[in-house]
Amino acid sequence: MKPKQIDYKEWHRFFKSIPDDDIENTRYYRHLKDAEWSQYLFPPSTHLIYGNRLLRKLKFDNSQASLRLWGYVLSEGERIFRARQTNMNIAAVMGDLGAVPPLIYSFKNVTAFYPDCLWWTPFLMESSVLFDEAAELGIGEESCFVRAALGAFSKRAYFPKPDISIGTVGATCDDMAAVISETELQGNKVHYFEHPQRNDFATDNRHLIDFLRDQYRQLCSQLEKITGQSFSDTQFFDTIEKVNVLRNIIKDIKSILSEASLNTMGACEMMNIEFSALSYYGDLDECILVMKNIRNEMKKRQIDKTGYDNQDIRILWVTPPADLLLLNYIEELGGRVVGSEYLINQTTTAFRTEGDPFEILAENHLKGSLMGSSDFRVKLVLDELERTKAEGVILSGVFGSSHCPYETVPIINALRRKKIPVLAFDVVSPGKKRLQSQIFNRMEAFMESLRMRRVKYAR
């Protein structure tokens, strides 16, 4: 089938052609026997009924691999409830903690999720319920969209109460720190994880690694208490191996995306793929299978030289947009998002597979996008630009975050010095239609200017 982007109605019709066996065998928590509820291969219209109204407006890739990806991502909330139902321990991970989930998954019968990732829920549901709830608790529009996590904690309907919440404090966003604190005051048990400032000029990070190693040791003790299990080196390295497999698959996927002659996957799907490295949407084993499936599909398309039509302008997207419509829109305008810097650099590199487990985690932790200087983030963007040969950069800021006000100008300046056009705007909350249409106008103008630039350089 020729790759293209289709809407949820088309997916609904197309779903009938999917073999029953595939539907029957696409399941999470495969280690649980007789779990009738664990199927997740459904068309987007199913998730629309659950309240994700934005799905009516989105365009999806038309492969079965993509359908599986969407089903897997959108069933995360249900999965966490099922985990509770089957007596698994649940850990909430909040903040820039890329190396914490591998430690959590080193214990048996435990799952992890990122409440921060509910930041896109108000957009998906086209509802301000979670933001309103957070505002009632004192965290309003001055905070970035992660405040939705507080609304979700308070509503108690989006995920079960975690056995432990691990929250970053230190060189990380203060609005998230405020959200974490407020959840604690509501009776949620929080283990604070110190996130020291990384001096990017320093050649010796030894003392930072030592400090973080101790932080991981302390966290490990907490996890031992909660799970009633002892930490096992063997289980840890097994988990690390799986996480490395996942991270390498994502790396491959990103390479295929930027190297293929045509666009082989949609930007929304790509964001879901990249974010899977955070907490694997609650099931590491299944996540690997989902991503392998996607990689195979993309690889096939690359070899066959197939992809979406009329998407040829190479775009690098900086900072993840909570509103998926923006990604779709740039594609409709002929853009192809070939690369990204989504603030999760800590989830991109593979772990060392030998040595002290806590030191391995500490080393990886130090790769974080936000714990160092703005110059470090600028470098990440420039490296991605170099890798993807993007023609233009879109920087979708997050109003109210504590990093955007300080990083936006240095990133723009660095890109302009490289003579790369850049469009910077802040994603607006759901329902602010006038502001949204202004952003669309700016995106249109930006794409027009990139096309004209192409013509000019061709001359």
Partner: protein, 372 residues
């Protein structure tokens, strides 16, 4: 009338302060390097002990509100205006800047200064939680001060540090005593907090203000929130209210702990400035909430003015929690921006709040008399 009298008297003392301090700064600019520092997590004794003069970076009259170059307008206006403050006369002779990491925006503002300024800027990481990683954070602080000294061709004299610790302890004790008795107006306290004068000189001046006594009829206020600008406190005091408790970083909170003289000065200073620091970015926040609650009780306050700077996350996003902590006490939250101060709005809101508190106070006094 009482309010105006108080105001004039404070004004005279503050003017004396200014004269003395300006003299010191102009003299010392030729002799000692001036080191700008940020916030409550910087042990000024160490700057003094290396033979430099510490000068706290605070909102300064005359800064250019449009000069925020590389920071977007949704950054906290204090952090955004830092580069602009540093261009004012007061800070023109700085040789270096140092600060301990507190909130994330401050960390990022320091990062911006590091990139954009011609003088050395040192930022050391500091804990957000309590009693964790002491040796790591202590070492971070120590090495930053050593690097600072080295960059200025100076050395930290530990013996001298102990003397400065002693002197500052005396100042803290004196300030706490005066504040508890209501003899030290808040605007003067803020002036002291931002002062570069040696502790001894400040103590000399404090001896001259004992005659100021609290007025039992004026509403007793707690000031909480982000660092105030240059005029808010004066506006509050002009209404006749007395700010008897101040938990901003320029108020009572800055003097709450005494330092130990014995032992390693680095360790002692670390305890006071870093470990025991109660800024709102520390977790769990309950330690700060308890401190504020206890201070409100002990100073018998009538109302709280909670003043936040737009986009100051640690204070702004804790306001509702503070209101709950201080339930039963009248609480007014105001949001402001250093770059576009809403003076008239502020005056009207504060005026109405204080009038309401005064009316309640008079009513209570009448009821008490009738009961007697």
């Amino acid at each position: 009338m009482k309010a105006i009298y108080l105001d004039t008297k404070i004004l005279n003392i503050i003017t004396k302060f200014d004269v003395l301090e300006n003299q010191l700064l102009s003299e010392e600019a030729n002799k000692k390097p001036l080191v700008g520092y940020l916030c409550l997590r910087t042990p000024v004794e160490l700057i003094e002990a290396m033979g430099a003069t510490p000068i706290r970076i605070v909102p300064t009259p005359g800064f250019n509100v449009y000069d925020y170059g590389n920071i977007r307008p949704d950054g906290c206006s204090f952090c955004r205006m830092l580069p602009s403050f540093l261009k004012t006369e007061k800070y023109k002779n700085l040789s270096a800047i140092i600060g301990g990491a507190c909130c994330d925006q401050m960390r990022r503002a320091m990062d911006t200064l590091k990139r954009d300024m011609d003088i050395p800027v040192f930022l050391y990481t500091a804990p957000r939680t309590f009693n964790q990683g002491t040796s790591f954070f202590l070492n971070e602080m120590k090495s930053s001060f050593e690097q600072l000294a080295e960059s200025l061709d100076l050395e930290i004299d530990k013996g001298l540090a102990k003397d400065y610790i002693d002197a500052r302890n005396k100042l803290r004790e004196r300030i706490n005593c005066l504040r508890e008795s209501g003899s030290l107006p808040d605007s003067l306290l803020h002036r002291i907090s931002a002062s570069s004068l040696a502790s001894g000189s400040i103590l000399d001046l404090l001896d001259k203000i004992e005659s100021i006594k609290s007025d039992v009829h004026s509403p007793k206020i707690m000031l909480a929130g982000s660092i105030p600008g240059t005029w808010e406190l004066a506006e509050i005091e002009k209404t006749g209210a007395e700010v008897v408790a101040d938990v901003t970083c320029m108020g009572d909170r800055a003097y709450k702990d005494l330092d130990r003289r014995d032992g390693d000065p680095f360790e002692n200073l670390y305890d006071v400035y870093i470990e025991n620091n109660l800024c709102p970015h520390r977790r769990p926040i309950t330690n700060l909430l308890d401190y504020i609650h206890d201070l409100a009780q002990s100073r018998k306050i009538d109302g709280v003015i909670y003043l936040t700077l737009k986009y100051c996350h640690p204070w702004g996003l804790s306001a509702e929690r503070m209101r709950k902590t201080l339930s039963g006490i009248h609480f007014m939250k105001l949001d402001d921006d250093l770059t576009s101060p809403a003076l008239s709005n502020f005056r009207t809101r504060v005026g109405a709040f204080i009038e309401m508190l005064q009316a309640k106070k008079i009513e209570q006094e009448k009821r008490a008399k009738i009961a007697v």
